[in-house]
Amino acid sequence: MPACVDPVDQLIAALASISLPPPELESLGVMLRRDPGRLSLADLGLDSLGRLEACIALEIEQGVLITPETVASLHSADQLLRRIATAPRV
């Protein structure tokens, strides 16, 4: 899968890779662009296993280095997108 540049695209691609992805990924992408501060991590389907899988997908497929522990310390999708944008790259 080609790496994306936009953090929203990167996150959506990672969410699509986990074993139990959130439903309606397309509309979730629209909401992430429109008002990410209103979405919690639970809204993204990121429970403990989801965080694990999403972080691995971000590293393998997008080259974004972010750990599940870091994601667990965040509260909203907005924070997560900012972390993805500033995270070190492989």
Binding site: S17, S19, L49, I56, P68
Partner: protein, 536 residues
Amino acid sequence: MSPLVQRLLPPIPLPLPPGPLPAAGWMLREVYGLRVAEDPRREALRFSDHVLSHAELLDRLDHWQELVQHAVTRIGCLGGDRLWGVCGGDSVDHLFLSISQFFAGRPLLLLPLHASEEEWASLVQRAGVGAVFTDRPLPPSLGMERRTVVQGSWEIWTARDGQASAAADFLLSSAPPLGGSGDGAQQARAILDQVAGIALSSGTTTGVPAIQTSSCFEALAMLQHPEWPPSRRMLFSFRMQFGASRSWALRTLLEGATLCCVRVSERPELPELAGRFEADTLPVNPVYLEEMLAQRLEERFPASLAFVTGTDRVPAGLRRRFHGRFGPRLTIALANSRLGPLTQLPPDQLLAHDGESVGFPLPNVRFGFDADAAPEWQAQGIGEAVVAKTLRVRLQHPEHGLIDLQHTLEALRPGDLLRRWPDGQLSFAGRANDVFLFRTVLVSPHEIEDLLAEDPAVREVVAFGAPSSVYGAVPMAALCLQAGLDPDQELPRLRRLCQDAMGYRAPKALIPLEAIPRGPSGKPLRRELARLHALS
């Protein structure tokens, strides 16, 4: 010769060579000679259009020993305690040379032909090889120089600085510990000191270059009282794991059975050849067996017994294809080059436990569990295997008649993870260094491989754990798709297939390859793949 061996051996007039006694093994030639004398004309070896009886074979072996003896005398390299490497292509000369030197008591290390130059240099250095019999030029990095010709293309090369390592001591100290403290064990140990002389394992898997004691003891057992004589006529294909193939050839000949040799360079169709040779046994490695089955050659498969060597398991797909085709005449035994046959699986139970079982231990083999196995494994009923194999050797005592010596070889912590089913069958749960910890969960690469191999789009697959400082090891799989299939379409589908079946333990990356990288024995190079795809 030690007083013990003098006491135990029958009073045979043994011609002692001049000078220092050979280090080990030479009495096997005499014992084999006694076996040959029972039926000198019995067929021993078939190769190309030639047939050799056991008596003729013994002559050939003696001839090769004379040639070698002349050669080493010419270069003043008589030491019997030096470790000699043997490097050569698949040929009967290789067999003649190896066995004659085994009988001569010369410690040998069979060098794997397809190893890289670096692996060779490492092996030669670790084992302390001081000289090499070879039928081809050796790479300069080994630090060896050509010294003399033995016969034909076979030459002797020695270390350039002339310094031979103290190989015999090194090798004996690398042998597995000898169990037991009774008189029998002590006698056996003393005999082993006398007969230790050949390496049947290249050590590329274990990292230990040679285990002579077990090999020699089993060879002696074969001569005296074979406990596992499955073959009367074996087709020898050279296509097994390198060390194992030599082991089988040697054992077959020592048993007094017939060995039919086929050059792999002739690309033989083994079922056809085996039929022509009327072979009742055909040891093959799983890779070749898969090739045969892929060509739908199983209908002509001639064997009454299938040995699957050089592997930790018999692939489930292979069992299914065998199941029902061969009825009661086929069974599968699991063997390795270090301890020989270990388990046997009856034909009616080929699919036992979903094809995972490797069968029941042979009567003289005991599998145990290491009590200190990791808690995660114990919770799953898996233990690290401790394998012990008892061998009996009978020696004719001039005064006390037949003496039975019983000896136990132990392979401690071989790295195999084993599960024992309630009915007594065993299955491998992978090798300890193959099973990996993904966060807090154990993942077996075989689970991933079995799942993907079932899919018709997949031609070959190998799974591995890519190392990561954050996740431990991340499950991944490298695979080859069937010709003509589009990876962009197939890989997402296969990924979803894995996720549906395995959840979050599913492989996190599917890597399409043209061919799976494999070592010289056909085993996939998981570690190399893991290294290439390591995460942060």
